[in-house]
């Protein structure tokens, strides 16, 4: 039964719904304002997810050219939705659904009228623009919606504009993303120069016959441009500033979805326009691998010592984007050596991780949002004990943490398993330099995983477990149902994507038309399998998540049974009692470990990277007697290496130059006239004697 004739109308319906959601709240008052904004948004997002799924599996495509298009070449809006677009639309749709439901409670809650109106308006436009970005089919409309996305997200970031520092981070964000756009524009226009058209169709059709140099230029510019938006090191500096400043539902969207839109751009350009085909292109892939693994490492290292819960999550976005790009890079390397199956595997890993990261990072930001809303602080050192006060939030945050830490049986593990398999398969690349450097990349990758685990022990443990460290945490209570529901949607997705990998693999496979070799993406219980054949050995490394889960479950049951029997059947009494305090008598909550102290060993081990700067301030009762101290306060902070050593010199130099230039406006009319005289004479001489 084929519905493909209805797809365009469905898509237009989605657009219409978002527009309604944007405009309705402007007409209504607070309470209903939230509903008017986010109910349409939720429906539209769900519809988007459904539609994109249909498109994915029916393998059909949509072409739309809205009437409002100018007749002059290269200007105008053209939409074309193929499998790839649909896959990313699926990501957008899923997360946006969860976030919209969440926002009903979050934005509908305590804020004043203007707040809800503008947030509702902007979020609808934001999601819509992201959907349109992945749907566009020519340069102009791509840039149009791309920047609309940046603009709306920027306005959302600075929404709480009276919080100190918000405007600054917003400005940084918009400027950085604008620089990124400049790179992207350059990349596209170079393609225009060599194809003579601004339509993506033309780019696709002439993908094969690009000159090598053009290929490299386009690729690198695109990597820089989209990397900036995706938060690749060293263009990531805006990300840990912007995401924490934004309202949490927005952070969820930005981190979960917007970064994926950037990944979409990268995928589109890499695999559609500059198709790596010869070993000469392998270094591009290696570039990506390097960028990816370093982003992963840098991101997680900063996250490890962060005590602001939202900034820590933002740094984790840097990390996960790194992992995604690492996968892409591997795929490029394999592709340029003609190892199609491996390339498919790496791409699968990368895309799978994109989907996963969207889901669990959305979930985590929503959880963090609930916590911040209830405790009134984002500083983990002031949290604690929330597992008892907000059990649902705690449970879903735990699910998210397990998922992002890459632990079985949740989705993070599966995609990281695939990434590892791709890394392990790099022995097939017939180039020792590449083999070894990918080996190094895998060290970075493994270190990343280790640190990620540690970080999430800190994130969940410090904020949700033990005793409250502040009055705010003391007073916290569970969030309204809608917010829990929003988190539940994402949480369930985490579990499903983990336990039933075929859900994702089939989507990716049909989106990219992948031939995955041993993996049978569409069979519900079929294992993920990768073959090994070298030096006379041949084997198959395979993973079947359902089996693993069943085994673990049954073993757990068996253990329980055994323990009950061995405990001679009787149910032992469980007596609550104070924690053992070493005989000191009841200890205050100040004696608990905090996020900062917990990460102290890591900070010390990696001090060459953090350049930690610790200052101790002592206060004495009297200046004469320094033996009795009133108080000792220790401030320990880590430095942003990239800002100190990369950005400030460049920016500073530029500004110095500009400052010199502008001085020509001296205020003396005589000098002005002199400029004219010089201009006239020099141009005259130019005209007379040179030409």
């Amino acid at each position: 039964m084929d519905f493909s004739y209805a797809y365009p109308d469905l898509f237009l319906a989605v657009v219409a719904l978002f527009v309604t959601g944007a405009l309705l709240p402007l007409l209504l008052n607070t309470r209903r304002g939230a509903i008017a904004a986010f109910v349409p948004a939720a429906i539209a997002s769900a519809l988007t997810a459904a539609l994109s799924t249909l498109i994915l599996f029916s393998g059909s495509t949509i072409r739309l050219a809205p009437p409002l298009t100018a007749s002059i070449p290269s200007i105008g809006i053209a939409l074309y939705i193929d499998g790839v677009s649909a896959f990313f639309m699926l990501i957008i749709g899923l997360v946006a659904t969860a976030v919209s439901i969440y926002s009903l409670g979050y934005s509908g809650g305590s804020e004043e009228k203007r707040g809800v109106r503008s947030v509702g308006f902007l979020i609808n436009l934001f999601v819509l623009s992201m959907i349109l970005v992945v749907a566009t089919n020519n340069v102009f409309s791509f840039l149009l919606f791309w920047e609309l996305m940046s603009l709306t997200s920027f306005l959302l970031v600075i929404h709480e504009d009276e919080k100190p520092g918000t405007l600054k981070s917003g400005i940084t964000y918009l400027i950085m993303t604008h620089i990124g756009t400049a790179f992207i524009t350059a990349a596209f226009l170079i393609l225009y120069f060599s194809t003579g058209s601004l339509s993506f169709d033309a780019f696709r059709s002439s993908a094969g016959q690009l000159a090598p140099f053009t290929k490299d230029a386009v690729f690198i510019l695109a990597l820089l441009g989209f990397g900036t938006k995706a938060g690749l090191v060293p263009m990531h500096i805006w990300l840990p500033k912007a995401h924490p400043s934004a309202p949490s539902n927005v952070s969820a969207l930005m981190s979960g979805v917007m970064l994926k839109v950037a990944i979409y751009g990268l995928v589109r350009v890499t695999f559609d326009f500059v198709v790596p085909s010869s070993p000469g292109d392998a270094w591009l892939g290696l570039l990506m691998v390097a960028a990816g693994s370093s982003s992963a490492l840098v991101g997680v290292l900063y996250a490890a010592v962060e005590h602001d819960i939202k900034r820590a999550l933002a740094y984790h976005s840097v990390e996960n984007i790194g992992i995604i790009v690492l996968g892409l890079g591997l795929s490029v390397v394999f592709l340029s050596y003609g190892l199609a199956t491996l390339a498919a595997l790496a791409l699968l890993a990368s895309m799978y991780h994109s989907l996963n990261h969207a889901v669990f990072k959305g979930l985590l930001f929503m959880g963090a949002g609930s916590v911040v809303l209830k405790t009134g602080t984002a500083d983990m050192n002031l949290m604690g004990g929330l597992a008892k006060k907000m059990p649902w939030t705690a449970m879903f945050f735990l699910i998210g943490s397990i998922a992002i830490a890459g632990l079985p049986p949740l989705n993070g593990f599966v995609s990281e398993w695939l990434t590892m398999q791709a890394l392990l398969s790099s022995y097939q690349v017939p180039n020792q330099v590449l083999q070894v450097s990918i080996g190094f990349a895998s060290v970075a990758f493994a270190l990343t995983l280790g640190l990620a685990l540690a970080t999430f022990v800190k994130l969940f443990g410090i904020s949700f477990l033990a005793r409250p460290r502040s009055a705010g945490a003391e007073r916290a209570s569970e969030v309204p149902r809608t917010m829990v529901a929003g988190m539940a949607v994402a949480g369930i997705l985490c579990v499903v994507l983990g336990v039933l990998p075929f859900v994702a693999t089939s989507a990716v496979a049909s989106a990219f038309h992948l031939d995955l070799g041993l993996i049978t993406p569409y069979s519900p219980l079929g294992p993920l399998a990768v073959g090994y054949t070298a030096s006379g050995l041949s084997s198959i490394s395979s993973l079947s998540m359902p089996t693993v889960l069943i085994l673990t479950g049954s073993v757990g049951a068996a253990v329980f049974g055994f323990v009950v029997l061995a405990g001679s059947g009787r149910k032992p009494v469980v007596r609550p009692y104070t924690t053992w305090e070493g005989g000191f008598g009841p200890l205050g909550e100040r004696t608990e470990y905090t996020a900062t102290s917990l990460s102290q060993p890591i900070r010390t081990v990696f001090k060459t990277f953090y350049r930690p700067h610790t200052s101790i301030k002592r206060e004495y009762f009297s200046d004469s007697n320094h033996l009795v101290r009133k108080s000792v306060s220790v401030v320990s902070e880590t430095r942003e290496v990239f800002e100190d050593y990369l950005y400030s010199p460049v920016v500073g130099g530029t500004l110095f130059l500009l400052d010199k230039v502008r001085r020509i406006q001296t205020g003396k009319i005589n000098s002005y006239l002199l400029y004219m005289m010089i201009a006239t004479v020099s141009l005259l001489l130019l005209a007379v004697f040179q030409f």
Binding site: V443, A446, V457, L465, L537
Partner: protein, 324 residues
């Protein structure tokens, strides 16, 4: 298609049975190994020491005892022992120890095993924080550092192993190792060094951690589980010793596979002989380790990274050697 033949082969029944027996054996013998190591240490320290089956007594006693739970602790603390036990023990299903195959190794490979261990560790750390005690905190913060450094070493070792023996499927890995007999390929050698160091760290042995201490300055793992009592403690200790057995067994099977039959379709006699050989080798290895333990003191926390770096480095060298 080796991995599939094993499970779907004609003698599926035999294999399944043996597999289950193997798992049961692991669960049963793990405390014994702990007992043996304690005994050896005691002897080295000129003590009589408890009998080698003391751990079994301890476990049974603990299982019968009531639990005291910190009033600050949440459901995470309550669930942790079960999760730890379930994940560690199910990890045992995937690893061939006594026989060169595991019936389910096509469902989960060595990466799954590492994942399950990590899951267990994750919850242990959470439980350590959950009791709001400073000891827990100390343990967790140290464990965070160590585990995050152990991870790359471990993964890189796996990298080397899977390059040399092919893939990450444990059955075929062990099979290949057994097949190759005791060849000392340089890459394998470096892999072994790395794996040995990591195993010491993972099983909480000196110089990383002192399993026998209750002095907060030296505790790592013990500090995290300090608040556990009764069946909770029992489960955690049991899982700990199982993990220890698994790692040692894996090391033996991969790096000194003398006596291990190459594949599943060997005769029962051969399999039995192989199993016996494994037991002997593991015990010997355990003796060596506990002997070493009596020779070294616990290292300062911030000297441990040097050890981990050594592990990573040697694994790297192993990899490069393999490629070049």
């Amino acid at each position: 298609m080796i991995a599939y033949d094993i499970t779907l082969g004609a003698d599926a029944v035999k294999i399944t049975v043996i597999g289950i027996l193997q798992a049961a054996g692991i669960f049963a013998l793990a405390p014994l190994l702990t007992g043996v190591m304690r005994k050896v240490k005691a002897k080295r320290q000129k003590r009589v020491g408890a009998s080698v089956i003391q751990p079994y007594y301890d476990l049974l006693k603990l299982l019968k005892k009531d639990e005291v739970v910190s009033e600050h602790a949440s459901w995470v603390f309550q669930w942790t022992p079960w999760i730890v036990a379930a994940s560690t023990m199910s990890a045992a299903l995937f690893i061939p120890i006594f026989v060169p195959f595991s019936p389910v190794s096509s469902a989960g490979d060595i990466l799954v095993v590492l994942g399950l261990f990590a899951l267990a560790r994750f919850f242990v750390m959470l439980a350590g924080i959950d009791t709001a005690s400073a000891f827990g905190g100390i343990g967790v913060s140290r464990e965070m550092m160590m585990s995050s450094l152990a991870e790359p070493g471990l993964f890189l070792t796996v990298f080397v192993i899977s390059l040399t023996f092919g893939g990450t499927n444990l059955t075929s890995l062990v099979g290949a190792a057994a097949q190759s007999g005791v060849v000392i390929a340089p890459s394998v050698l470096f892999g072994f060094i790395a794996f040995f160091i990591i195993t010491l760290a993972e099983t909480g042995r000196l110089p990383f951690d002192n399993p026998a201490t209750h002095l907060e300055l030296t505790m790592v793992h013990e500090a995290m589980v300090l608040e556990y009592s009764g069946r909770g403690l029992a489960l955690i200790q049991w899982s700990q010793s199982i993990k220890q057995l698994l790692l040692l067994g894996l090391m033996v099977d991969l790096f000194l596979p003398i006596g291990m039959p190459a594949s599943a379709d060997a005769s029962l006699a051969l399999l039995g002989f192989g199993a016996a050989a494994v037991v002997v080798k593991v015990v010997l290895l355990a003796v060596v380790i506990s002997y070493l333990e009596t020779r070294v003191a616990k290292w300062r926390l911030f000297r441990l990274p040097d050890l981990f770096t050594m592990a990573i480095a040697s694994a790297m060298v192993g990899m490069i050697v393999f490629y070049l």
